[in-house]
């Protein structure tokens, strides 16, 4: 997410916190896909992820007046999503595993020259490996590699210090690699 997009986010969040429903609708439309993407991979349960996505935006709507421009709106939103997911995982103890392949937009299976993992088989392997690692590793990899968050934003989202974020990202990558090779 570039700086201009973040600035526009914060402008709309200021309006939303002043009671502008259109501004809040704009923010929801912009972030609902990313929030769902994060939650569905974190919980591995599409139906629960849909409910948690709705809860996230409901909680954010109820708390939008407490949002301050010092915190980036996206980080603030992901923190709400993370806390709700964590509550759910703690309550449930165990989350029902559902395959993520259904309805997924699988890219062209032809391998590209840059060596990216583009084939459907590799995508499946990566999704399965992500599902197999510990939730604490999964969530930090999702925020770093897929949501492209900075270390500072990850620290705010997960309520960790920077040193823990650094070491956990490295451990999470190593864990994912080990699962892929297993």
């Amino acid at each position: 997410m570039d700086a201009e997009a973040e600035l526009e986010d914060d402008r709309q969040a200021v309006r939303a916190s002043a009671g502008d429903a259109r501004a809040y609708a704009w923010l929801v439309a912009r972030h609902q896909g990313a929030v769902y993407r994060y939650l569905v991979r974190l919980t591995q349960a599409p139906e629960i992820a849909r409910e948690l996505t709705q809860d996230t935006f409901l909680h954010a709507y109820q708390a939008i007046r407490t949002w301050r421009p010092e915190a980036r709106f996206r980080t603030w939103l992901f923190r709400i999503a993370h806390n709700l997911a964590l509550d759910h995982l703690r309550r449930a103890g165990r989350v029902r595993m559902e395959p993520l392949e259904s309805g997924m937009d699988v890219p062209d299976p032809a391998p590209g020259p840059d060596g990216r993992l583009e084939t459907a088989q590799k995508v499946r392997q990566l999704e399965q490996a992500l599902a197999a690692i510990a939730p604490a590793h999964r969530e930090i990899l999702l925020l770093r590699e897929i949501e492209d968050m900075s270390y500072e934003d990850i620290a705010r989202t997960l309520n960790l210090n920077l040193g823990t974020v650094r070491s956990r990202i490295a451990r999470a990558r190593a864990a994912l690699l080990a699962v892929l090779r297993a």
């Binding site: 809040y24 439309a29 609902q32 990216r116 995508v123 490295a170």
Partner: protein, 151 residues
Amino acid sequence: MPCPRTVLLCASLDPEWTGRRRELIQAHVAACPVCAAELRAIRAMTAGLKALPDPGGSPDVSRAWHPAPAGRRKAPASFGDAVRSWLGWLPAAMAVTASLAAGIGLADWSWPGGPPVRPEAPMARLDAFGPVPPGGLCAAAGLCGTPKENT
């Protein structure tokens, strides 16, 4: 320098990870084909994560917050807001109740100078089912206890 652990190779990928240790690892990787291959595998994995397709099935939450054409908010209202919105209908509800009560009251009102109200139809009409047969004949005195028979 011995081959660094995979965790350290993973950490060395991030630009935020700076310092002498990173330089040492980079120097080692440049000279060690095994670690170079390991680092390539880690890079390919992170690139694969970034390229993962979006999972389908995202809910359209934004619909709940789109303002109605008239500008009325569709977001979930609090209980207080709901009560206040219903209070707006209170005068109309009171007017309807008052007009219904007046209608019922007027229906029961007997106007002065109007036609006299006839008493309720007497139950004597049911005499048709009494012991006196049609024509007023009675088989024996005393059987029919009506004045007509006594005459």
